[in-house]
């Protein structure tokens, strides 16, 4: 339990003062924020920032934790807070009610100090879904999402080469910086926390921790020049960071539900985002404004990509459609695919004309942009959650919900390597 793992070490050193950000913020976040937060604020009260949490005054906060009145005790539908947790609040008050964060208006998720991730199990009792894959080291290696780690496999035979730990429980996106030295990992622990971690690929060391959230981060992508990193996630926000200083350049909160994916235009001036709210939005980063919204999907959008010129976007959704529309206006051009199952990923196949997509269907499909017709089809297993195209555009890689990896040659359709991505 998140709270326990933070509380216990501190309880052992009772001499240390209670830290609001490390000790109390997690309690408020886990026990209170679902009903007293930005989405739902019962009684008009919110705890999601220090300033808001303290608006009612410490006495009222404490009263609610300890009262005997059945209709006033908080939390209302569960056991009262454990005595140790209430004691922490009391001690904090005695010690002066100091706020040891930087910004009293920052969200609790942001101020809770970066969690140290537990070590991954040496062996997996079960293969887990492969939610992110990438090619690295000149297409010699395959990177896959693991459990609190990223795994590095040899592309030619599927041998495990390396394990990079210290990462979130689930990884939903792996993106390598154009210079090949750093990579950005987006993920988290479902329902509990989320983050984007930038690490050094050579030794797995932490470069920067960004976009801390109370639930998963779903995508993090560098622009083609490598000067910016854009992130998005379940909190509905899209953030752009300078990849030298790691300062936040802009944040967009236009979406009303999770933002599942984003993509950069080739010139780095635009990003397109796809959301569970069934819309895709295009943002112009020279003006920091939204320039269009596409509303043609009737299901959550899982994946988005610009075409080569950046004048159009291809978006894929939970209702099995790939739709092609104009960047500037959000106007529909045509429907490129209509499957009966959800599509989770769409990727460009090097040339301007071909794209591939995968999802809940047992195949990877190719789209020919010119004709709008379906091209080749590569048989696969069911439920491909992740997809990557090699840098030389000759091979495709899929990861499925049972931990299976398949590396396929595009030209011949031959299955080159197949293995289960679990140590």
């Amino acid at each position: 339990m998140v709270v326990a793992s933070l509380i216990t070490p501190l309880l052992l050193h009772a001499a240390q003062p209670v830290s609001f950000k490390a000790d109390l913020a997690p309690i408020l976040l886990n026990q209170c924020q679902s009903c007293h937060g930005p989405k739902k604020s019962k009684g008009g009260y919110r705890v999601d920032t220090f300033e808001r949490a303290m608006e009612v005054g410490f006495d009222e906060l404490h009263y609610r934790m300890v009262t005997d009145e059945e209709d006033e005790i908080m939390p209302p539908d569960a056991d009262p807070l454990p005595a140790e947790q209430i004691a922490l609040f009391m001690r904090w008050q005695k010690e002066g009610e100091t706020f040891d964060g930087v910004d009293p208006r920052a969200s609790l998720a942001e101020i809770i100090p970066g969690l140290k991730h537990p070590d991954p199990p040496s062996q997996y009792s079960r293969a887990i879904p492969v939610t992110a894959v990438a090619f690295a080291h000149g297409d010699q290696s395959i990177l896959t999402s693991g459990y609190h780690e990223m795994l590095v496999w040899a592309a030619k035979d599927g041998q495990l080469q390396r394990r990079i730990s210290g990462l979130p429980e689930r990884i939903h996106s792996i993106d390598i910086h154009p210079d090949g030295k750093q990579l950005a990992v987006a993920g988290g622990s479902p329902g509990r926390s989320g983050e984007v971690r930038v690490i050094d690929l050579s030794d797995g060391s932490l470069v920067q921790l960004l976009h801390k959230s109370d639930d998963l981060c779903l995508s993090a992508k560098f622009n083609h020049a490598g000067t910016r990193l854009a992130t998005c996630g379940t909190d509905g926000s899209v953030r752009v960071f300078d990849s030298e200083t790691w300062q936040e350049v802009v944040t967009f909160t236009n979406h009303s539900n999770w933002v599942n994916d984003l993509a950069w235009s080739a010139d780095g001036n635009r990003i397109v985002t796809g959301s569970k709210d069934s819309t895709a939005k295009v943002f112009d980063l020279t003006t920091n404004t939204r320039i269009s919204t596409y509303t043609g999907h009737d299901g959550g959008i899982y994946s988005v990509i610009f075409d080569e010129t950046g004048e159009h976007v291809l978006s894929a959704c939970s209702k099995g459609k790939v739709l092609y529309w104009r960047t500037e206006s959000g106007q529909a051009v045509k429907e490129l695919a209509n499957q009966s199952e959800s599509i989770y990923r769409i990727a460009a196949l090097g040339s301007a004309e071909h794209f591939i997509f995968s999802g809940a269907m047992p195949s990877v499909e190719m789209i020919d942009l010119q004709s709008g017709k379906k091209g080749k089809e590569f048989t696969s297993t069911c439920n491909n959650l992740s997809l990557a195209v090699s840098n030389d555009s000759r091979r495709i890689l899929t990861g499925d919900s049972k931990g299976g990896l398949r590396l396929v040659d595009i030209e011949s359709g031959e299955l080159l390597t197949r293995f289960t991505a679990a140590p």
Binding site: Q33, D77, A78, S125, R126, R170, G191, R192
Partner: protein
């Protein structure tokens, strides 16, 4: 004491809000009931079992085979006593095994297997013993947790799949399970695959969101629903650990069996009963699933059932113990009786079989019936129930002074023949037949209303009444009952209305999934629809006219399979269906036949509820096994009487209101003050909105006039609530009626008539426009009387006779007259006195 202002909503509702409210109430009332959390035994008032000296004990089952490592067995130990009583001694039993290491006893006389082999189990309670034999097999089996038969029921038992939570049509928090697990295929996808598998953690199963949320370890709006010590938690953890394995071709579960399966009675100090539940499969196997079933009671005031299947008595009475597993639902009725030592059982002499049957039940539960009501109360009450109106002072005085021996029954006979009776009881039918201008147009309402009025006035037999409505064909201007088919928007609506009105069943739930409380399945729903789907309605050129006719083809297709569904009626009767014939005829013939188990019963229950304020089955259009009648023999007797008298409604009304039960006082005695169900007294209830308006009119002498009806028509006689948009300045204030719960007539549900109290009502009675208008009108009764120089005494006497059907007593006289005499503005003083009278419960309620 910390103050807390809780905002109270006004009960004036807009059309949209009302619709969603009605939909919620009618379709979800049962669903909401079902989601009360399973009771922990620590929270229930269980006193230690008093074993006493049983003659012998019995254990069920007498033999059992464990066929897997996760099997459970719940024993039920029953003690038999010399005086014929029985008691559940399960929790007081000690178990001893003849061979060690084969099985072990846990708490509550539940047994778990340990290793393959055989053993005898000696069961002892006090000096009595008995034994049963156990076989344990297959303990080394690696068979993973069953998704269908262990994991899904665990989710239901934990309450996750309840209608008010994730089993709701759109789920909660974007997590949607099928209601009570009726769709395992969809649930499988939702739990395992949805959103990239975030809900389950295959490597650290306890961390899965699926479990962490109900444990409240992660913010969960639904609160704490699962503890890691619960069996559901253990099952789900093991299931996730197996990789969320879903078996390919499991045997099909064909039903469940309860032990005890027959209705039983428990007498204090015995007030608990352990249940055992077995599931049967189509491969011939069976499993003890006591630990995985979900338990509820039909009445939490009388009985609560723990999560371990222990029924605990809370009060005197009977309740259905309802057990649910997968789509199966079974119930057993348990009665809780008690000796009450200081009670001498004495009742009025029964006037008819109603009293005999009521008193028999009351005696069982020791609810001593209250004595007879006084003449004042009875006179006022019977007028309100039969005519909807308060009696006049002259009528009151005549009755009180009369010394004719059977004056009450003569009064009843007289009132049953009045025009007021006809119009008031016509309005009751108008409510549930949805007579409203919005549905049927002004002309339709007037004509349909007139038809019903004639039917009531002539005391048309109920079966003919139903036939004429259901078989209506032709223009609604010529055949008024055709308007019935305008009251629904489509076949489903008509069928659901018909089912609720005439079969007393809320089958609507089964449109989209199996009914949560009944064996109605989707097949039943669409099968019943097949009788109605050939009904066509068309508008004609004439204004307000529609024509109803029967198509001779057209079939209902099951939405899931797209196959044609054959017409079906409850009880699976095979009906002879001539394809040429109007299918409705077949349905109506079945419906109104003397053997039909629903038709007559629903109507007598409805009449009972309209007179007594509460049905023998309540709600009275919700007959089902899991909602037992308060007095089944009475319901059966009334039904038989009704049928025998050719569905004569006045006969039933007459029988009921002549009984001592109806005529009982509404005052409680020390023995029956907790009875709210068995009719040990007359239960007071507030006057309905229409009765209230008319009562105020009669009291003050200021008549309300309503649009589009002849002057002199009272609120209790209005054909419909919406005949014309009312001009609030000029005519009767419909808003007042709505505030007090007048139904909009959007559905056939009796629940539309609101009987809750609300801030709006309180305000109306304080100084609302209607009331204020009546009180201050200088031409009202009191102002006129005062102008004519009548004495305060006389005015007061008139007031009390009108309002309460009695004279004021000395204290009341003194207070009022003193107040009047000392007031400067006599007119205002009178208004105050009248205002006080109106705000008394004695005026607002009938009792």
């Amino acid at each position: 004491m910390r103050s807390r202002i809780k905002p109270v909503k006004q009960s004036v509702v807009s059309h949209y809000i009302l619709m969603s409210l009605i939909a919620f109430l009618c379709l979800s009332a049962q669903l909401v009931l079902g989601e009360s959390a399973q009771h922990e035994e620590a929270d229930l008032p269980i006193t230690p079992i008093q074993v006493g000296s049983p003659e012998r004990i019995e254990v069920s089952p007498s033999e059992f085979t464990f066929s897997g490592p996760r099997d459970h067995l719940q024993l039920v130990v029953t003690g038999h006593y010399a005086n014929g009583e029985i008691a559940d001694l399960t929790r007081a039993a000690t178990l001893n095994f003849s061979s060690q290491g084969i099985a072990e006893a846990g708490e509550r006389s539940a047994i778990k297997p340990l290793a393959n082999g055989e053993t005898n189990v000696t069961v002892s309670v006090g000096d009595c013993t008995t034994s049963m034999s156990l076989q344990v097999t297959n303990q080394k089996s690696k068979e993973p947790v069953s998704f269908y038969y262990e994991a899904l029921p665990a989710l239901s038992k934990a309450g996750c799949a309840a209608g008010g939570c994730h089993g709701a049509p759109h789920g909660k928090g974007e997590f949607r399970l099928s209601l009570w697990g009726f769709d395992p295929v969809s649930d499988q996808h939702t739990i395992i695959n949805e959103e990239f598998g975030r809900r389950v953690n295959l490597i650290e199963p306890e961390k899965s969101l699926l479990l962490a949320k109900p444990r409240n370890d992660v913010a969960h709006e639904g609160g704490l629903r699962l503890r890691d010590s619960d069996i559901e938690h253990e099952v789900l953890v093991n299931w996730i650990r197996s990789g969320c394995h879903v078996e390919k071709k499991p045997p099909r579960c064909t039903g469940i069996l309860l032990t005890p399966g027959k209705d039983l009675a428990l007498k204090r100090p015995h007030h608990t009963q352990q249940f055992r539940v077995v599931a049967m499969f189509d491969d011939g196997s069976c499993k003890d699933i006591t630990h995985l079933a979900s338990y509820e009671s039909s009445d939490e005031k009388i009985c609560r059932v723990s999560r371990h299947g222990l029924a605990v008595g809370m009060g005197r009475g009977e309740a259905a113990v309802i057990v649910r597993y997968l789509e199966y639902i079974q119930s057993t009725i348990v009665s809780f009786v008690e000796d009450v030592p200081d009670l001498t059982w004495e009742t009025e002499t029964p006037a008819n079989y109603v009293d005999e049957l009521i008193y028999a039940k009351l005696e069982k539960f020791k609810y001593l019936p209250s004595g007879l009501s006084g003449d004042s109360e009875f006179f006022r009450r019977i007028h309100l129930d039969l005519t909807g109106l308060l009696p006049t002072p002259v009528e009151v005085s005549d009755f009180l002074d009369s010394s004719i021996p059977d004056k009450r029954s003569k009064l009843i006979d007289k009132l049953l023949e009045t025009e007021e009776f006809t119009l008031f009881w016509t309005q009751k039918w108008g409510d549930v037949l949805k007579l409203s201008a919005r549905q049927m147009g002004h002309g339709g309402v007037v004509k349909f209303h007139r038809w019903i009025r004639d039917s009531v006035a002539s005391n048309q037999p109920y079966d003919e009444f139903a036939k004429e409505i259901l078989l209506a064909t032709g223009s609604n201007l010529i055949k008024p009952t055709s308007n019935f088919y305008r009251s629904g928007s489509d076949t489903s609506d008509i069928m659901e209305s018909t089912a609720q009105l005439f079969l007393g069943t809320r089958i609507g739930c089964a449109k989209c999934h199996n009914h949560p409380y009944e064996p109605w399945t989707q097949d039943s729903y669409y099968g019943l629809s097949a009788f109605f789907n050939r009904i066509e309605t068309r508008k004609t050129g004439r204004k307000g006219e529609i024509v109803v006719w029967m198509n001779d083809e057209g079939d209902v297709r099951h939405p899931a399979t797209d196959e044609i569904v054959e017409p079906w009626v409850p009880g699976s009767y095979q009906l002879d269906l001539d394809p040429e014939l109007d299918r409705r005829k077949a349905f109506v013939e079945w419906l109104t036949g003397k053997e039909n188990p629903f038709f007559a019963k629903v109507e007598v229950n409805r009449i009972w509820a309209q007179l007594m304020g509460r049905g023998i089955v309540e709600p009275f259009d919700d007959l089902r096994d899991t909602n037992p009648a308060a007095n089944q023999p009475l319901l059966d007797a009334l039904t038989a009487d009704f049928v025998e008298h050719d569905f004569n409604r006045k006969h039933i009304i007459r029988t009921i209101v002549n009984s001592r039960t109806y005529q009982a006082s509404s005052k409680t005695n020390q023995w029956n003050k907790n009875d709210y169900r068995y009719f040990s007294r007359y239960y007071p209830r507030r006057l309905t909105a229409e009765q209230l308006v008319d009562a105020l009119s009669d009291l003050t002498g200021i008549r309300e006039n309503f649009a589009s009806v002849p002057p002199g028509i009272r609120a209790t006689q209005l054909p419909a609530p919406d005949l014309k948009i009312h001009d609030r300045e000029k005519i009767g204030d419909i808003e007042f009626l709505k505030v007090f719960g007048m139904p909009e007539r959007q559905t056939v549900c009796e629940c539309e008539r609101g009987d809750d109290s609300s801030l709006g009502q309180a305000l109306e009675l304080f100084n609302g426009k209607t009331l204020h208008g009546m009180l201050s009108d200088q031409n009202n009764r009191f102002h006129l009387a005062h102008k004519e120089k009548q004495t305060a005494d006389a005015i007061l006497s008139d007031l009390y006779l009108r309002a309460f059907s009695r004279e004021p007593n000395d204290k009341e006289k003194k207070i009022a007259v003193d107040y009047f005499n000392s007031a400067k503005d006599k007119g205002r003083a009178l208004e105050d006195i009248v205002w006080v009278a109106i705000n008394r419960d004695e005026f607002l309620f009938q009792y």
